[in-house]
């Protein structure tokens, strides 16, 4: 293999193979051991994992920058080719949305008036933190994203993460300057949801496919494809009424849900700092701006 090696090395050759073989077996058992350790949820393993991602987050941010710039350039060229149709379509859509806006404002005001009449408690303020997606698991075994915001920005485990079109997941792990999002499609994801129209509650269960399952609905409930789903806010961890997706198919045994989010084009997402008074301590979920670095910069700007 290597041409210039001494006699000692030749003698040591069989010894080296034996060592290599046993090292291989040792490494295989170490990997299996790590799998068991991970299953046992050892805090040290989690810390090490987040420390590594924290360390690599700037590198990932740097790499993902030109990639997304390239992607934007491609998208721009694509949109140039159908500028006129696009303009036409947007004009129509704008007219339609203006009508919806008027309707929405009227309803919001009406709702507010009713709330005041009934003396109902309004939901606490939700403050978003916007972060860039710097990593996408891409493998067949997990569905997670890496974000370039962490503990110092006010991100905490359990907070909801939304894309422009709807909820995409929750924060599962948080480091100092990076955080991992468990997407609603991951096998470990469970999100309390409610059917928008019938107000029946269920749990959205991920199974690593692109279409998560809707489970634990009341047996008497009627579901049809196209029914919209929003977060129910049960458990006090997620704000209520955030759009998630719609029922895509109703089978004999399972109900599949199509999320609103465009999984291919998640560039920026918002982390919702939601704090039900009395439900969580400030270290779990800092509800006010004062706690985070983002808040400081925002206050400085004022």
């Amino acid at each position: 293999m290597a041409p210039r090696q001494g006699n000692v090395f030749k003698l040591a050759w069989p010894l080296k193979t034996i060592i290599q073989r046993s090292a291989f077996l040792a490494l295989v058992s170490l990997a299996v051991g790590l799998l068991f350790l991970g299953k046992a949820n050892i805090a040290a393993v989690d810390r090490l994992r987040m420390a590594t991602t924290d360390f690599l987050a700037p590198v990932l941010t740097t790499i993902s920058e030109p990639v997304s710039a390239f992607h934007r350039a491609v998208a721009r060229v694509q949109s140039l080719t159908r500028l006129i149709e696009e303009n036409e379509r947007l004009r129509e859509e704008n007219a339609r949305l203006l009508k919806w806006q008027a309707a929405g404002r009227a309803l919001e005001q009406e709702n507010e008036n009713f709330r005041q009449l009934l003396n109902a408690l309004s939901d606490p303020l939700v403050l978003p933190i916007t972060a860039r997606v710097i990593g996408d698991s891409g493998g067949p075994f997990v569905r997670t994203l890496l974000l370039n915001a962490g503990q110092r920005d006010g991100v905490r485990v359990g907070q909801a993460v939304v894309a422009p079109l709807g909820l995409i997941g929750r924060i599962a792990e948080v480091g100092d300057r990076s955080a991992r999002v468990l997407l609603i499609t991951d096998i470990n994801s469970r999100i309390p949801v409610v059917l928008e129209k019938s107000r029946q509650k269920g749990i959205l269960v991920g199974d690593n496919s692109t279409l998560p399952l809707l489970e634990f609905l009341p047996t008497t409930s009627t579901v049809a494809p196209g029914d919209r789903l929003v977060t129910s806010g049960d458990g006090g961890m997620l704000p209520a009424g955030r759009p998630i997706g719609f029922v895509s198919s109703v089978g004999e045994r399972d109900i599949r849900v199509q999320g609103y989010a465009d999984w291919n084009r998640l560039e920026y997402v918002s982390i919702l700092r939601y704090d039900l008074p009395g439900m969580s301590g400030p270290e779990d979920n800092p509800g006010d701006l004062g706690e985070s670095r983002l808040g400081e910069s925002r206050l400085d700007a004022q």
Partner: protein
């Protein structure tokens, strides 16, 4: 005759190229590409790298390095820690034991070899992660990743070949 320090350093740097490149591939594997359809499943570039170097320069891609690559990848993707390490070690071990068949043979044969070994790795990975999460995971994404890896294999094998013939001729 001892080679000079500069020569040894040069040799070390050249020799570390496969591992460094594989680390970069692990990083690139998680960068969101935004290509439609590609964002959800990406090809498993690490198995390609480990397979190729296990055949052509096994002493530059030893078992400990495969293990490290796996740990790095697991940290980045959020997969169960140890899973990718185990898969890469399986690829490395099986490839190394069958090295004589591939070495100096046509490209098609090594592509075929990769198809078999990557299939084995995909099946083991699916089985292990299903056991890990105590549920039957959907099989389609695993096969999709396998098919994608198989498709991009010639591209990477070609690139590695150029690297091997130029940068690594002396090592």
């Amino acid at each position: 005759m001892n080679p000079t320090l500069a020569y040894q350093f040069n040799r070390f740097l050249r020799g570390s190229v496969p591992f460094a490149l594989a680390c970069l591939m692990a990083l690139l594997g998680v960068v969101p590409t935004g290509i439609s359809g590609f964002g959800i499943i990406t090809p498993s570039l690490l198995t390609i790298a480990v397979f190729y170097w296990s055949i052509h320069r096994p002493y530059l891609m030893g078992a400990p390095l495969c293990f490290l690559l796996g740990v790095l990848s697991d940290f980045l993707t959020g997969a169960p820690l140890g899973l990718t390490s185990l898969l890469l070690l399986v690829v490395h071990g099986v490839t190394l034991s069958q090295r004589r068949i591939f070495i100096g043979k046509s490209f098609i044969l090594s592509w075929f070899g990769y198809a078999l070994i990557a299939l084995l790795a995909a099946l083991v990975g699916w089985l292990l992660s299903s056991l890990y999460s105590l549920a039957v995971l959907p099989f389609l994404p695993v096969m999709l990743q396998y098919a994608l890896s198989l498709l991009v294999f010639p591209l990477f094998a070609f690139g590695f070949g150029i690297l091997q013939n130029n940068l690594l001729r002396l090592t």
